[in-house]
Each structure stands twice: as C-alpha cells, then as structure tokens.
Symmetry: C2
Subunit: 593 residues, 2 copies
C-alpha cells in the first residue's frame, strides 16, 4: 500500500511549486499486510526526460518514508513513489533474529538459496548478500505521478517597486530614476498599464465622472485609436524607449514587470474590430462593467463565454506573447478573478511551456477560495490580505496559514503595505512609525514583497475622504511630482531592509517562519532560518507608545541589523523594549555558540 | 468549481460509513469566477435506485455550501454535488440592487425577458419569478460520486460480551446463561472459535508446549479429523444446539457473534485436501506460523499469495457464507492484518452486497496505518488502543482523534477494557476501582464496547507472570468454573451502565464527544449529546486516592445516574469530588432550563 504521497495539491489535480535549486521532500506511507520487509523508492524526472531517476526512501517511523530531490531545471518535474515487499530482505532480517536466538539455520539457508537462485555458504555470507532486484510483478506504484512547477528564483524571492511612468515623464524618465530604484534595493520594477488611454468617458481627477481638458485618465482604461494591449501610450515613449528601459534595468539586476488588465475603454480597437468579444445589451449598446448598482461606463469587460471565445482567448494569450517578445518576463495581472478560471489555467500552462521563466502575480483581492484557486491554476505569486492584517493575533494566524501546508505548496504570497488602490487606515493615522512597521513586517515576513512608491517612502497618507482606502489626488487619475530627496523620506530604511533581505538567506523563503511568545500583545516576534542563517524580528505594533516585554527565546547572541545594537541573551526569557519614536522594530541576526 | 466535497475518505477511494437512519451532512466549496449567482445541489441515491434525488444546498459562508440526506436502507448509497451559475438569478439579484439605487430598469427588464424567454411586466413581478431550470450545458458535476455504506444500527451502537462456551458446558450451557447475559444488558454475545480443536502440537495449560491428557487446547488451533472452519466442535454440541442458541438469543435481542480465525491446526482437513493453500519448506514440511525467532508449530497460516489463491479465497469467503446460513450476522475476525488486504476488500464487499446486515469486527492490534486501512477496506468496527490509553492526556488525545474527521468517517471504535489476551496492568494493580473506572470509560466514551467475561465482572486480575498481559491459568487453554453470583461481582454496575446506554441516545454514537476542563490531572470529564439528551461523565483516574477539582461546565442541573445524586450547578465552575473507595465516576444526565 502506497498512500498519502505528499507534497500534493488537491490529490494531484494541481502541481506544487518550487524555485530553481529548491528541494522537494517527498513523504509517503508505505506498508503491507503481514510482516514482510518493505522497500520504497522515490521516482522523479523532468518532463523532458524519458527515464525516471530513483532514490531509495528512508524509513522514518510508523510506516512513514521520506526522500528528497533537487529541482535543477525550469519547467515541470514529475515525481511518484513505488515500493514492494522483498522476500530476500525479509529472509535476511529474520535470519539475523534466528541466528541471535541460536536456532538451527540449515533449512533457512536453503530457503534463502531458493530466493536468491544461488548457493549460500553460511550465515556470515548470507547477511552480507545484496538483495536481488525486485521482480517486476512485485512492484506497486502510487496511483498517479505528481507534478512540480519549477520557477525562477525570483518567484520565491523578489522585491517589487511600483511606479507610474507618466509622473516621471514617461519611459525615459523611468530610465533616469533607475539608479534610485536600484539604491532602494528592489529587483522588480512594476509599471501600471503602459497602453494608450481611452478618451470616451475618461475619468477626471479623484475618479470624477467628467474629466477636464488635460486630465490624463486612468491607465487601466485601456485602448484608444492609437492602439490597445499591444501598443505603447505615445505619451510614455516609443518601443525603442521601452527596450532601452528593459536593458538598462537588466544591467542593474532589475526586471521590468508589466500590468496586464484585460478590459477595454470604449475606444479600444477591439471594440470595433471584434464586437463578438463583448456582450451586447438589448438596446444595441455594449455591456459596460458593473458591480450593481455601480456602473463603470468607461470600461468594457470581455465576454469570456462568448461563442467566439476561442479567438478571444487566443488573442488575450498573444498579448503576453507580444510583451515577452519585448523582453518582459514578469506580469502583474489585474483582477484575474473576474475572468474565466479555465482561461488562466490554459493560458499560463501554455505560456510557461514555451517560457518557463515567466512569473505571473495575481491581483485577486477576493474571497479566499477564489484567491487560492487562481494560485492552483497557475499564478506564480499572489497578492494577499496582508494589508488588512494588523493586530498580533491577525498577523500570527495569517502568516502561519501561509507558511504551512497545504497553502505554501501552491500559494506564494507577495506582501504589499500599500498599492495605488489601498491606503490602509493604519497608514492614514499611524504616521511615520506605521510606515516603518508595515515595511518591516512585509519585508521580513514575506520573501516576496512590494510597495507602491514613491508614495510609500514619502509617506503619502491622505485618504480621498474619511473611511476611504483611496488616496486623495490619486496618481491613478493625475500626474504627480515626487520629491525623491525629501529629508523625511523612508528611502534609507527601505534600502536597509532590502540589503538585509539580499544578505540573509533566511529572509529569502517563507517556510521556516516560527513565532515566539512575547508577554505583550503589542509586541510580535518571529524568526526565519536557512542553514546557519537565522533572523529574529521583533516589532512594536503600537505606533503611538513604547512597549516592552519578555520574549521566550533560547540563549544566543543577537545583533540588530537595523540599529547596530548587540546583545548577549543568557536566559530563556529576554527583555525587549521598542519605541515608535525611535525604531519600532528589531531585525536581529542570531548567533548560537 | 466544485471542490472539497465531504465527507470523503482518501479522495473517495473508500466509502464512508453510516448506520440505518443516520444523516449524511454533505459539504462542498462551490464557486465561480466573476460575480454570477451560483446554485448548488446535493444528489444522492441508493445503489439499487436508477434516478438521483436532488436537494438544494444551503449557502453557509465564504463559498461553502451544505445539505443533508438520511440513509433509510441498508447497503450503499452514492452522493455527489452539482452546481451552475444561473444568469436569471444573477439578473434578479442585481435587479434588486438597481431598484434600490433608484435606477431606470427599462433595459434591464428587457434583458430579463430574454433570459426568461417571456415578457416581464415590471419590477414587482420580476422579483417573484421562479428561475427557469438550468440548461444542461451549464451544469457542472463534482468529478466523482462518493459512497456511503449503510450498516445496521448495531454497527454504531453495540455492547459485546465474550465468553468461552466450553467453560459453561458447551452451547446448551451458554443457552442457560443467556438470562444472565441479558440481565447484564449486552446485545452481542461473542464466542471464540467453535470449531474442532487440533490435537497435534496442542498447547497445554498456560500455553505449555507439551499438553497433558485432558487438556482442551486453544480454540484458535482450528481443525481436527472432526472438521474445520465449517464444523462445530462436538464437545460444544450439535448444529441443533447452535440453532437453538441463536434463536433463544434473538428472543432476548442478543445476537451471536462468531470468531473467524483463518489459520489451521496441523490436523485441519484443508492440510491434506489442499496442500497448495499452504507454503512448503525446502524439507517438504509445511511452513508453520512464525514471528522470528518465535515459532508456533501448532498453527499453519494460509498462503494468501499461493498460485492457488483464487480457490483459497473463495473457500475462505464461503466460511462466512456458511455461518450466515446458520443465522450468524456478526463476525469478530482474528488478526486480519496478517492476511491479504485485497482479500478483505473483495470478500467483505461481496458478502455485504448479498448480506448488507453483516457486521465485521477487526481484531487488528497493530500499527495505526494498518489498523485504519482495514477499516477503510470494509471492516464495520475495529478494536482499538483503548486498553493502553490510561492517563487523562492519553485518553483525551485518543478519544478526540477517534471522534473527529477523518477517522470517524470510516473507523468505528469498539472499546474493550480486557480480552482473553489482554489483562492490562491497570487492572492487575488497580483493584475493584480500576475495573469500575475502565468499564465506565469504555461504556460511556464509545458507543461500541465489549468485555471478556465473567473474568471482567469477577475482576480476574492475576497475570501469568509479572510484566505479562496474559492471564494466569488463561481460559484460552483450560476450562474455568465461574461463580456468577459472587457477592463482589461487578454485574450490578455493568447492568447499570448498559441500562444507561440503552436509555440515553447520547451514549449511542461517538461524534458529539466533547472534553471539559477540570483543574486536576486525575479527573477527566467529557460529555455527549443527542438532541435534548446530554450526558456528562466525570471519572477519577486515580484508583488509590480521592481526588477533587473544579470543572468548567455551563450552569445546569445534573443528576447522577450511577449514585442517584442531584446537583444544581449555578456557576460556570463547579466542584467535583470522587473517591475510588466509593464510586470513582459520575455519569450525569444534564438538564438545562
């Protein structure tokens, strides 16, 4: 019996995920009726290989076996488990017991010789014999082979910075600001849609229904007579500018990520050329986006279930292909949960077959099962509820869920303390300490994190109106001028956080996360490990008052990578004090002697 | 998307279990991309029915749906879930929102009419319209249908009494002792093997290798020249006696359970007639049972993997058929884990197809995964580790595991405080209080329980030697004379426990089990519920000293069904005191007002 082969997602319906060089620890329950000796083997191969590699599994306890393999190539691997009951090993095992009990072994050595198909001289030679290979008919294989998708390392460990090119004068302006982004330490530079912006029903500043002359509109209202999803907004620059940006970024080890938002402004060329891709209303007009009673007349959604779905789906997939052709390998996908699940499963699988280096980040701020489904269907990384998890209890529960099975096998969280759509009230009311606290949490709890800047480091914090999570004078609808050198910028803190992330392997993956008790509900403490590298983070969640408490943490030396402080903890409980007015967090490097 | 349909065992590979009249609460995650209204239905049918019954599922929260059906017929039912996104319901839902926002509905009413295929007069009539049935192509079904085995009620709720007929003068003697068993309140009377006992290598008293004249041998050494598994030991009586016993027991609502032990004494007729069913040694002898270095020369195991396995398996299955033909419907199976898994799955499925009323109790005192596998493969009930769980921590952990998913869906525990093979040291050293404590625990924590009597009520407690769990002068190897009327017998206590079990539905199933905190590690408290019936059990596990403590239990009235005591608990914490020298347990009936 070969059971409970893991890791697996939904009984093998979906692949697990790993990054290049990661290990896959495979476990299984392998057992038989009776008392015969059991052998278990792990089989694995890259999908392009014909033959399986096999590794003996190690018996742990209670019918539980384990073995690991390393994924060395992008794409997909298959793995499964096989086993058999081995009469020769059973005989050898029992022979030792009989010998130890001083029994006569004459007949037993005959039985062994029959099993081996060769003479066995005596006990001593018997126990050293290598068991013959199993007969084919003995071997039982697990009912299916499981799959692992192997992504580039940046799928597991990435630091994203989002900025609106038009506020910097377009693509050439972004190119000029690259040294700043590099200094901050980000390795993914994510741009909101770069396509022509619609004119009809264009929104004004602060999402006003009527726009005024000179209003630039929302980049998510995609398409004008100048083109659609495969065009560049001429106000941002040319394809030459785009290529220059991609190349310059690459030199700084920064990858450009594009935002793919599958929706059209009424001016999008698709609307005239492919009316069959949209839903018609009885009055002959095209169905605009709605969330009744709200109406978004400037946006036409695609009808993913149109009779012409095949040509639509092919075209949408080709949008990704188009930008891959222009050097883009990372895509942030806008609202994937309002598009067909089947489209994503098909499109991402097909795209990654040809381009296994691609990374897709799902922006699905929706219900948990839908969010997780999209991850199972193929998205490489996912936005999360991090922004709305603020208390120690909420953070502990949520981080734990994400770092444990089954979630972690397929759902790679990407933590964002802010986005152009989400200015959480913690940031609105918590001042500079809140910006530091949320950046430290995101950057240390999640190996993938990002922020919308320069709004973040400049601590932009005024909501459109009380109770709203929208920014006042949101950059979504207007140009902003940012003073990147402002004296109160958090740029140095963010630079430091990204440096720590690069220098400490413990912060480059999520699974080792462990919480440590602190006797103060405003102080949260967690650690991560990778080999010898161990990081302990302690954060004061109270952005108004100093907090102190005792942390349970085994004796060690800790060196604060933020403040430079150095402490020798000789007892199992240690004193912590953090003030929001100085530094509200410790990021300790832990040394054990 | 229809996901996580439950209850299920190993992704539907094995059926769940229920007793006649039980409810199957089916839950599922049903959701879709986008914002369309979803409908979910539970489908179920008895395997002999052609058409599915359907019940609308109820939306709970977060894409989670539930519905229940009742199993009214023995055998197997199938169940599954289907769902669809419903454009008309979506439209109705949105129409209400538009109406509430005071929007013009002209075009929307046209859209609704198109969906309905009929005129819609106005808003008021629109919202009352019944949605048209779904088009076939919309409907998505869960990837498989799941199964539930429906057993007789005694599969869920049974009280077993094991006795050796030969100590009572055979089957006629058992018939005479039936009123005693009925008075004790048991409804299953289980007899060790009733077949002729082998003569060759017969074991003597206390398992002596050499037997003496007059020694009766072990009933598990099955088969002599007088017959094998389909014969009665002539010393026990005739088939007429057997039929008389079955009928007399039935009148008292007691069912006779037989022990089926698939092994042979060297004298079993199979050995001569079917040498191909056994394994031969190179010296021409038949392979006897072994657990190296131990040898059991009086027992020949069947070779379940013999080339002649088909005729062997058919014959073994026919042993059950034979006894079913003589009125037996309950079988206790000896050591099923040393026989082929595949045999049990095939044989039990086939037997229950013809006789869905059959109950099989697996005596598999082995590793957890093997024990659970046998339950999945078809055994109706299972012996457990109860005997070796004695501390509050052990009991809490083990009872909780058994009463929760996934275990409870397929593994029905049957708790035995003793068996002819197991006299636990708790009973050896704990005196009368230990016998009471273990009986109360078994009878109240498990809806299925049993004991080996009269050894139990007469508190037989001398081990063969220190450290052994075998009885001294074990009834397995010799006749015993039991004084059923002894003044210190626990018969009255056992009678009372079985009465409570019959009178309180809460004690007739396992799933409602809940533990309640008591601030004393020697006092364990748990409750069970069925409708209005609620039972709270508190046991002092310290069989030497009185113990007291405070239990957390919401205000109520409690009436002690063992002592007759009556208490009004007005606070959330209440005082408990139990002495092993009086009654070491409360079995409270709880009344809430």
């Amino acid at each position: 019996m070969i059971e409970s082969v893991r890791p697996q997602v939904d009984g093998g319906r979906y692949p697990i995920k790993r990054a290049l060089g990661d290990e896959v620890l495979v476990e299984a329950d392998v057992f038989t009726d009776g008392h015969d000796a059991v052998v278990a083997e792990l089989l694995f191969k890259h999908s392009e290989e014909k033959a399986w590699h096999s590794i003996p599994m190690e018996f742990r306890h209670n019918d539980h076996w384990a073995a690991a393999f390393r994924v060395e190539k992008l794409g997909r691997y298959q793995y499964t488990v096989r086993g058999w009951t081995d009469p020769f090993r059973t005989w050898q095992r029992d022979l030792v017991k009989r010998h130890e009990a001083g029994q006569d072994l004459t007949v037993d050595l005959q039985i062994g010789a029959e099993l081996l198909g060769a003479e066995i001289a005596d006990y001593e030679s018997a126990i050293d014999l290598a068991p013959p290979p199993p007969r084919e008919e003995w071997v039982v294989s697990f009912e299916k082979s499981l799959e692992v998708v192997v992504d580039p390392v940046r799928a597991r460990f990435s630091s994203w910075y989002e900025m609106f090119p038009r506020s910097f004068g377009g693509l050439r302006g972004v190119l000029e600001v690259l040294p700043y982004v590099e200094r901050l330490g980000f390795n993914v530079l994510y741009l909101p849609p770069v396509h022509p912006v619609g004119v009809s029903a264009r929104k004004g500043k602060n999402n006003a229904i009527a726009c005024k002359p000179g209003d630039v509109g929302s980049p998510w209202a995609i398409g004008s007579k100048e083109g659609g999803h495969k065009a560049l907004n001429p106000e941002l620059g040319t394809f030459d500018d785009f290529h220059a940006l991609v190349r310059a970024a690459e030199k700084r080890e920064i990858q450009i990520a594009l935002d793919i938002a599958f929706q059209c402004s009424p001016d999008h060329p698709y609307v005239k050329e492919h009316p069959e891709w949209f839903r018609a209303r009885p009055d002959g007009t095209i169905q605009y986006a709605e969330n009744p009673p709200k109406k978004y007349q400037d946006i036409y959604p695609f009808d993913f279930e149109t009779p012409a779905w095949q040509s639509l789906w092919e075209e949408l997939k080709s949008v990704f292909e188009f930008w891959v052709g222009h050097g883009v390998t990372i895509f942030r996908v806008d609202n994937p949960h309002t598009k067909a699940f089947a489209f994503w499963e098909w499109a991402i699988a097909d795209l990654k077959r040809k381009h296994p280096e691609l990374i897709f980040l799902a922006e699905a701020f929706t219900r948990p099962r839908v969010m997780h489904k999209l991850a199972k269907l193929g998205f490489t990384q996912s936005y999360t509820y991090f922004t709305w998890r603020n208390t120690k209890h909420e953070l502990t529960e949520y981080f734990t869920e994400l770092a444990t099975e089954p979630s972690r096998e397929y759902f790679r969280p990407n933590f964002w303390p802010n986005t152009p759509d989400i200015l959480h009230e913690t940031l609105q009311h918590g001042g500079r300490p809140a910006f530091i606290v949320r950046a430290v949490l995101a950057a240390t709890a999640a190996a993938n994190y990002g922020m919308y800047g320069p709004a973040y480091e400049l601590q932009e914090r005024t909501p459109r109106e009380p109770g709203s999570e929208e920014y006042l004078n949101s950059e979504k609808y207007e140009l902003k001028r940012w003073d990147l050198e402002r004296a109160d910028s958090l740029a140095p803190m963010i630079t430091r956080l990204n440096t720590l992330r690069r220098e400490n392997a413990a912060l480059q993956s999520d699974w080792s996360l462990q919480f440590h008790p602190v006797d103060n509900s405003q102080l949260i403490a967690y650690s991560k490990k990778a080999g010898d590298n161990e990081i302990l983070v302690v954060v004061n969640l109270d952005v108004h008052h100093p907090q102190s408490g005792w942390i349970d943490f085994a004796p060690c030396e800790v060196h604060d990578l933020l403040s430079g402080g150095h402490y020798r903890w000789t007892k199992p409980r240690n004193y912590i004090e953090l003030s929001p007015h100085k530094l509200p967090a410790h990021v300790f490097k832990v040394t054990r002697t």
